[in-house]
């Protein structure tokens, strides 16, 4: 298999979860059937209430999960970056309990649900890997409850920036503290339970304090330690050492 196989990053991540992950497991991941599909900004990848027939892994671009209130308010529940699944839980749960939207122009690998579930059933190491992926998702959701529930606006925004920066760095998408950052202020607001105006003011204060620079979709972290401190950020919950 070539280095450019689209599922290669997935096989690589999953191989790190267990010492029992064999070359045959890797080949089985790379042999999964998939289709590449592109989505425009804000396009829906998954809609709440839909029965899942596929699971989707991001190849390019960002996506986010969200739920809508009956009055139309939106809460973003997580952001996703390349190599991550946006809906792996639907493989087992069957029905989507929230929406997933493309954040910018994105490309995903669409994998038939049955193929993925069969692989998990046949191969314990892959079952474990899928499980770990969803457990890490769940840990991030827990941290978000804390973030939205008990941190002030400055800490909330700083925490979210830290989280995304660490995750992007981990997939090799950032260099020297500089990241592609296509999130709008409205999306940041919907992810932190703030208003867009409040978000804007908070970003300005982080900038004034020399912690970050955010221009034209590029985030630069100027003072890592400072941003972490303001954001009350401890990356334990990302379980990167699994």
């Amino acid at each position: 298999m070539s280095e450019h196989h689209h599922l290669e990053p997935l096989a690589r991540r999953w191989s790190k979860y267990s010492s029992k992950f064999t070359p045959a497991d890797r080949d089985a991941v790379l042999a999964l059937p998939y289709e590449r599909k592109t989505f425009g900004k804000d396009a829906y990848l998954v809609r709440e209430g839909e029965r899942a027939t596929v699971c989707m892994m991001l190849l390019r671009g960002f996506a986010f999960r969200q739920k809508l209130m009956s009055d139309g308010d939106r809460q973003i529940i997580s952001f996703h970056i390349p190599t991550e699944f946006v809906d792996l839980q639907n493989g087992l749960l069957g029905v989507a309990d929230h929406n997933v939207q493309s954040l910018n122009h994105s490309e995903v690998a669409v994998i038939p649900r049955t193929a993925l579930m069969e692989l998990a059933e046949e191969r314990p190491s892959i079952r474990l890997a899928m499980w770990v992926d969803t457990l890490i998702d769940a840990s991030i959701f827990r941290e978000w409850v804390v973030n939205v529930g008990r941190r002030d606006s400055r800490a909330r925004i700083a925490h979210l920036l830290c989280e995304l920066a660490v995750r992007l760095e981990r997939i090799g998408a950032g260099r020297a503290g500089t990241f592609d950052f296509p999130l709008t202020q409205e999306q940041l607001a919907d992810a932190t339970g703030l208003t867009a105006v409040h978000t804007n003011r908070t970003l300005q204060s982080l900038r004034r304090d020399g912690l970050i620079q955010l221009t034209n979709g590029i985030l630069r972290v100027l003072d890592w330690d400072g941003l972490r401190e303001v954001g009350d950020f401890d990356e334990l919950y990302l379980h990167h050492k699994v």
Binding site: D97, L135, S139, G149
Partner: protein, 250 residues
């Protein structure tokens, strides 16, 4: 109480979404486990712990929590009888939050390695337990929404509806009433409000005739109206039968 009796709720809950063969059920009952009786306020897991055991809540209630650097507490979930307390730690090597008992409880401790071996060697059990952890994650997502985008009255009504619906699914609530073993301070930490605010909202819901309270007992005087106030839909609980009903209706 035999192990079978102790695990009846846990097994019932698993099988509600993932039917298991007699053989698989027996394999779960054969897990090495030890029952422990604990007082209210006992830590079952602490953040940063490296787990050697996982446990199932046999009776009583517990809650998951995290502390911020400033020492504020956020409750992230309430565990009810039959819930696995920390099965996420089966495959994550370090606990990312703490779990504390809300009431006096009985828990069953299972060595982590035995549990890992069981879910990896038996695909049906693996899928069943994984589905439970996924439902747990779905509830956490809903809590992000609850504290993020709902006003105080809706938040409190929502947490009451969720609690009632979950207890009912386990056969632990009578028609329209259940015991809510949380103090107003704990309810405040679960909804990111102050205890004073929680008290005001509860009195308001009572004045509107939506709920009535007697000590720890909450009664839903008007269940349908409370669900409307709460903006409550059961979909995220993935209760048995609901997903199928929904798909059939499409």
């Amino acid at each position: 109480m035999t192990i079978g009796d102790s695990l009846a709720l846990f097994l019932h809950d698993l099988q509600a979404h993932s039917p298991l063969s007699a053989d698989d059920r027996q394999a779960i009952l054969d897990l090495p486990m030890r029952l422990r009786r604990l007082d209210a306020g006992t830590y079952l897991v602490r953040e940063g712990d490296v787990p050697t055991h996982c446990c199932i809540l046999i009776s009583g209630f517990a809650y998951r929590q995290k502390l911020t650097g400033q020492g504020s507490r956020q409750i992230i979930a309430v565990c009810i009888p039959g819930d696995a307390i920390d099965f996420q730690n089966m495959f994550l090597d370090i606990s990312d939050h703490a779990v504390q008992t809300l009431t006096g409880t009985v828990v069953a401790d299972i060595p982590r390695a035995a549990l890992q071996a069981l879910v990896l060697s038996r695909p049906a059990i693996g899928a069943a337990v994984m589905r439970s952890t996924l439902i747990e994650a779905s509830i956490v997502r809903e809590w992000v929404v609850n504290v993020g985008r709902r006003d105080a009255r809706t938040r409190i009504a929502h947490i009451l509806c969720e609690f009632a619906a979950r207890l009912e699914a386990r056969g632990l609530a009578s028609e329209d009433s259940f015991e809510l073993p949380m103090t107003q301070e704990q309810l405040a930490d679960a909804t990111s409000l102050t205890p004073v605010h929680v008290n005001r909202v509860l009195r308001g819901l009572e004045a509107e005739g939506l709920i009535s309270r007697q000590r720890r007992n909450v009664r839903f005087a008007d269940w349908r109206a409370l669900q409307d106030v709460a903006d409550f839909s059961r979909r995220y609980l993935h209760l048995p039968g609901e997903d199928e009903l929904e798909v059939a209706a499409i």
